[in-house]
């Protein structure tokens, strides 16, 4: 029977002062005692509304029940049946606006710690010998473009269905945004490497350093390389800039550049690793999404004395996961809410020295459904900074669409694809993840990859019969 307890079992975390200076993971994860203790709180509702809040409909009460009775193997099996990347999603999903927002407990108490439990079960699974069940039974070769969350999941599902799958990755290492974007302290590379290892054990081939659209065209995959179907999971990797004066000053960069230098290229090991990154005493990160939190917390770990978020809206409109925000606060990040950057100021040598901003107030809702920030006259201020990191969003990379005819995109550069199947405007070409939705979450990309795999299977089966 469920045990009534108002409070969610807290996630054990590392001390804020200690962790803010290294890249090791912040959350320590539940122990088995925490996990069972927390799982007992689940009410096992007749109509589990939490499942409706999950983009991939994990049978949440079932897996939590298995945890409560200590059957971790069953819990892992249930989890993985719906979500092929549980160790990753347990760490990076915005549970507070998904499953946990719907949890029946939420009305009066803390929701059940679904995310923490997902992570616990997935981490337990990683201590077990991998259960690989995939046998090549199909003749049709399938190519997956991009090795981010949607591509990894799509490839895994297709391998499970018996298809020979090749993933093409443009960079020298697989993982996409999971490798170049999300920092080690939030998603250890070991977790990602384990998932990738599982795919390889299932027979999925991963080819790095091949840029589809450049090295090979999409049409060549069909015509010259004998693929029967293609999944595009190329993400939203193109960084946006503000277009304000001073953006080309030295010390100003996109969050993508900042994080790629550090996460993919390991700039924190310079000069042991070859790629440097110059982090000054004061770093301003513009934006308040997860990428902004990652960048601002990374700058602390790279030695910044003062790391700040500059955001034109308020705390309420912030896009970041609540946990990342709390962790950032604990680590000493400063927040300048309702502050809009107008210009980046520089010295004679061309290095950034300050950020000229204007205070804002919130007005009526805008197209995004959030309160529109309106400038307050005469409220200009100047923040002294050494670096400005822009984390104001990314758009899909046009490398592939520019060189592929008949692949429709919308005004935002996103691929046009069927919501259910992921089918694009080209026959037997499917797509999913940020390349279709614009920058979104890992779990949405994973869900799209999974649905597309099923649709590809059906499309190929229909073609044979």
């Amino acid at each position: 029977m469920p045990v009534k307890r108002a409070e969610k079992t807290p996630m054990p975390v590392r001390d804020a002062h200690e962790r803010a200076h290294d890249f090791r993971e912040v959350n320590r994860g539940y122990t088995v005692f925490h996990a069972v203790f927390e799982a007992e709180r689940c009410l096992r509702c007749q109509e589990p509304v939490c499942v409706d809040g999950c983009p991939v409909q994990i049978p949440i009460p079932e897996f939590i029940h298995a945890v409560a009775i200590g059957d971790m193997a069953a819990a892992a099996k249930i989890l993985r049946s719906a979500n092929p990347l549980p160790a990753i999603c347990g760490r990076v999903c915005p549970q507070e606006s998904q499953c946990e927002a719907e949890c029946s407990m939420t009305k009066n108490f803390d929701p059940v710690g679904i995310g923490h439990l997902e992570r616990y079960v997935a981490d337990w699974e990683r201590t077990q010998p991998p259960a690989v069940q995939a046998k090549l039974t199909r003749a049709e070769k399938i190519a997956v473009i991009g090795s981010g969350p949607s591509g990894l999941v799509c490839a895994g599902e297709l391998a499970r269905l018996g298809y020979p799958v090749t993933i093409y990755e443009a960079l020298h290492a697989p993982g996409g945004v999971l490798r170049y974007g999300i920092p080690e302290f939030r998603l250890p590379k070991a977790v990602l490497d384990w998932e990738i290892g599982l795919l390889k054990a299932m027979g999925v081939e991963i080819v790095c350093n091949v840029i589809i659209g450049k090295t090979l065209t999409l049409d060549e995959l069909f015509e010259k390389h004998g693929y029967s179907a293609v999944f595009i999971g190329t993400g939203a990797g193109l960084p946006q800039f503000l277009g304000i004066p001073g953006e080309n000053l030295n010390g100003v960069m996109s969050a993508n550049e900042f994080l790629t230098r550090i996460n993919l290229m390991r700039a924190y090991e310079f000069p042991e690793a070859d790629t440097p990154v110059r982090v000054g005493k004061r770093v301003a990160v513009i934006g308040a999404g997860n990428t902004a939190m990652d960048a601002v917390r990374t700058s602390l770990r790279m030695g910044a004395e003062e790391a700040m978020i500059v955001y034109r809206r308020s705390e309420k409109e912030m896009g970041a996961r609540i946990e990342e925000y709390h962790h950032a606060l604990e680590e000493g990040v400063k927040f300048h809410w309702l502050t809009n950057p107008l210009e980046i100021l520089g010295n004679a040598e061309g290095w950034a020295t300050g950020l000229k901003c204007q205070r804002m107030q919130l007005g009526p809702k805008d197209a995004s459904g959030r309160a529109r920030p309106i400038p307050i006259e005469g409220s200009e201020l100047e923040l002294p900074v050494d670096n400005v990191v822009l984390a104001i969003g990314t758009t899909p990379n046009p490398l592939l669409t520019r060189t592929t005819s008949g692949l429709l995109t919308n005004q935002k550069g996103c691929l046009v694809a069927d919501e259910q199947t992921g089918l694009t405007s080209k026959s037997l070409v499917f797509a999913g993840g940020d390349a279709v939705t614009g920058a979104a979450t890992v779990i949405l990309a994973a869900g799209a990859g999974k649905r597309a795999a099923q649709a590809m299977h059906e499309a190929l089966a229909a073609r044979v019969s």
């Binding site: 090295t215 990797g237 993508n256 290229m265 090991e269």
Partner: protein, 282 residues
């Protein structure tokens, strides 16, 4: 992994490599580049494609030792492998056919003229290459370019070979009608200062000019934006919008300043590699 088939020292600091890269060779066009990485933990560096042989599936690159990574590349010999080679990246050079095209190569930039001049000559354009270096020993690939080009002009600062003076001085003479005559298009590939000087030399004469920008890059695929170049007042990404841009629109001041962002770290890394090499040889 790309196997090195042939290497040749062109000067004490530049080395020629022919490598096995069939997919890249099949897709490459003049003006494009590849990203290289030579070791785990190594950086990704952009290198302009010098030439390619589609039938043989090989790619030619010329690397100048300017930093830690290029020094490590130049230590590699035939039979060894380059850890990562990705490409071809960037757009290729597009020049309307039928004109007189003058390719200008400064230092190791001359290498990129190989495939460009071959392609343009093959389609019937009148081609001239002007190669410049400080002194005779630093001139590269003049003999290789002669069969690919109608005219090859050589310039050295000290007059030890060919025209005594800068490439821009010889270019000015051509524009005035000397030798092979005024070009319709100029493509300059080499050090930033040289490309800027070429841009200045052709601006007034109104000769359309392309320069191959070589900014700092991390990924080379449009992801980081570190390679942004100001062209016509707008920020453009050299890796996807370039690397060749209208020379008269490029803001060289910004480009040169941005290229110096990591000079301190580059020097540190270079000295570290030099030290390690010295220790090893001892």
């Amino acid at each position: 992994m790309a196997r090195i088939l042939e290497t040749r020292r062109l000067t004490p600091v530049t080395k020629y490599f022919r490598i096995e890269a069939p997919l890249i060779a099949a897709a490459a066009r003049p003006g494009q580049f590849v990203m290289l990485r030579v070791r785990e933990g190594g950086e990704r560096i952009p290198i302009t494609i010098a030439d390619y042989d589609r039938a043989a599936g090989t790619l030619t690159i010329v690397v100048q030792e300017v930093g830690a990574t290029t020094r490590r590349v130049c230590a590699l010999e035939a039979g060894e492998e380059i850890l990562d080679v990705a490409g071809p990246l960037g757009g290729h050079i597009e020049i309307p056919p039928g004109g007189h095209v003058c390719g200008i190569g400064g230092g190791f930039g001359s290498a990129a003229l190989l495939c460009l001049m071959r392609e343009l000559s093959a389609r019937g354009d009148r081609t001239t290459a002007i190669l410049g270096a400080r002194t005779k020993e630093l001139l590269i690939l003049a003999d290789e370019l002669r069969p690919l080009c109608r005219n090859v002009e050589v310039c050295t600062d000290d007059g030890s070979a060919g025209f005594k003076g800068f490439v821009t001085q010889r270019l000015a003479q051509l524009i005035a009608g000397d030798g092979p005559g005024r070009p319709d298009h100029v493509v300059a590939i080499g050090p930033m200062a040289m490309m800027r000087a070429v841009a200045d030399a052709t601006r007034e004469a109104k000769v359309k000019t392309l320069v191959s920008m070589d900014p700092l890059m991390v990924d080379g695929t449009g992801m980081c934006g570190g390679c942004r170049v100001t062209v016509g007042g707008k920020a453009r990404f050299a890796c996807v919008d370039g690397p060749c841009f209208d020379a008269h629109e490029v803001d060289f001041d910004v480009a040169m300043r941005r290229n110096k962002q990591y000079v301190r770290e580059e020097k540190q890394a270079f000295e570290r590699v030099a030290c390690m090499a010295a220790r090893e040889s001892r």
